[in-house]
Amino acid sequence: MVIEVIKKVVIRPQTSLGLLVVLAILPLVIKSDYLLHVLITVGLYVVLSLSLNLVSGFTGQLSIGHAAFYGIGAYVTALLMLRLNMPYWATIPLAGIITALFGLILGLPTLRLRGDYLAIVTLGFGEIVRLVFLNWDSLTRGPMGLPGIPSPQLGSLIFTSKIPFYFLILMILVITVIFMVRIAESEFGLSLIAVSHDELAAEAVGIPTLRAKLLAFVFSALFAGIAGGYYATYISFVSPDSFTFMDSVTILSMVVLGGLASIPGVVIGAIVLGLAPEVLRFMADYRMLLYGALMVIMMIYKPDGFWGAKHRVRNAILKNLEKKPTRVKRGEPI
């Protein structure tokens, strides 16, 4: 009951606007670099989870290699900035496009594969990408990584403190959320959900399922790539260790624990799991032990996540039906 009320409040547009204002003035209140860093990390996780949600949530294609896209975006940005001295802003579209191309490549196996098999291909893809980072010494410096990635520069303002970085991720986050909400409300979004429910049935009613799946992968990779680029310039160091299988799993857990295919759910999932390691810090060595146990407990007691999409989809359909009352009176032939 309480949860229902909270859900109703959260999905109001006024709430989002209010939240945005709060987020915008937050850095004026928070003076701690550590807290800002935590907020930035959580923001990055929200963007990554939302991007994965497009593939694994809406389209129902389980992907456990999402960190690969994040990594490709980060490496592309890092290399463009270090080797070609490009400004950060110019690398954003390039990182996005190159990562999106890899998304297209990973999307192609969906032609033939479904479910667990596809999940394994995404896993293999993630591992191969990480191994290429690790072994292509002449380009990526292998396990030593790429240090000294410059900070973005806006006119005379060089991003040295955490505050401009905070606003940058907030901007990326807002754009991502708007994009995802628009997709969810569009015909394209509905076709993705149709694919996730039953691909053959979707194809039978004339949805171009292949195109839908490929586009989902492309957009998903695009946003993950932009997030990766941001990470590269923010941390100013990239190495293969930051884009492992565990990172893919973390992002996927955020999506699933939040609630597949539900945008507010995924955002909450990313916030909760993003903050969990910090909140659980007092547990010291037992932190990850508890994290694993919590994942199991959560799946047992709430397998739909915090914000199960099941009811949401049904409600949306019912609402649409209510909006268009049939003109046929009862008893009349249609």
């Binding site: 196996p109 667990d116 994942m295 047992i300």
Partner: protein
């Protein structure tokens, strides 16, 4: 050079196959990827190491005890993390398995520390020269244990009554239940056997590479899983074949292409096989119905 890599590959492949059997048997019945299996393998290795080093047991009793303990662990994991989720959406057991995996890795780090430990072998390692192939006694023992366990499993599954029940359950859980088979017991048994085989492999891998560490289950698990898919997941002979093939390919690739890309070769092979024949080499084709 080629035949040497072939021998090394077969040895590694035998160990992969032992782990892959656990994946494939569980998938055959429950249709879930048991992502915690690699960590169960790692726990088996650590328990074996503990028994050999602290309790001063011989290798064979240590292996048997470790297999028994880990079989029990596998059964407990199924009870706690998978059984409550049997009727929920497919992604729930997957996440639950990943949770167990994180839990076990960190448990091992807390108990045994993060450093790599050597696995003392109590016997003298001799090397035999056969033609231009160097064959160590370690490789021979490893292969012997692998073959023994696999033949044992094959006989159990094919000849014993429980084995028949297991095959029936993997064919159809519903029909098996109607035939009076206690499906829950069979599933527990499957997890137990799979985990025991993983524990045996854990000790062999620990001995062979002389290294035991908490994240060893991650790569070994992924490779074994690759092997299971390669052979056709759900098929027991498939897992054995897949393991051997993977071990051989990967060793040849490492020797002739690049050492650093050894794992990438394994995963690349996996993707290609899946695209050409998604059901693996020995898997059955299942038509999707509308």
């Amino acid at each position: 050079m080629f035949s040497q890599q072939l021998v090394n590959g077969i040895t590694a492949g035998g160990m992969y196959a032992l782990i892959a059997l656990g994946y494939t048997m569980v998938y055959g019945i429950l249709k879930i990827i048991n992502f915690a299996h690699g960590d169960i393998f790692m726990i088996g290795s650590f328990i074996g190491l503990f028994l050999v080093k602290q309790i001063h047991l011989g290798l064979i009793p240590a292996m048997l005890i470790s297999m028994a303990i880990v079989a029990f662990l596998g059964i407990v994991v199924e009870r706690v993390a998978y059984r409550p989720l049997r009727n929920s959406a497919k992604i729930a057991p997957l996440l639950s398995a990943l949770g167990v995996s994180i839990f076990l890795t960190n448990f091992a780090q807390l108990v045994w520390g993060t450093q790599t430990r050597a696995f003392p072998s109590s016997f003298q390692i001799k090397t035999f020269q056969v033609g231009n192939v160097a064959l160590s006694s370690m490789q021979i023992y490893t292969l012997l244990v692998c073959i023994l366990l696999m033949v044992g499993l094959y006989l159990f599954v094919q000849k014993s009554k429980l084995g028949v029940a297991m095959r029936a359950t993997s064919h159809s859980v519903e029909n098996a239940r109607l035939m009076g088979i206690n499906v829950d017991t069979i599933i527990s048994l499957t997890f137990g056997i799979g985990s025991a085989l993983a524990a045996a492999s854990g000790i062999l891998v620990g001995l062979y590479y002389d290294a035991v560490y908490p994240v060893m289950g991650y790569t070994a698990g992924l490779k074994a899983f690759t092997a299971a898919v390669l052979g056709g997941i759900g098929s027991i002979p498939g897992a054995m074949l897949g393991g051997l093939l993977l071990g051989v390919f990967e060793n040849l690739g490492a020797a002739y292409i690049s050492m650093g890309y050894r794992d990438a070769i394994a995963f690349g092979l996996l993707i290609i096989i899946l695209l050409i024949k998604p059901t693996g080499l020995l898997g059955k084709n299942i038509q999707q119905k509308v």
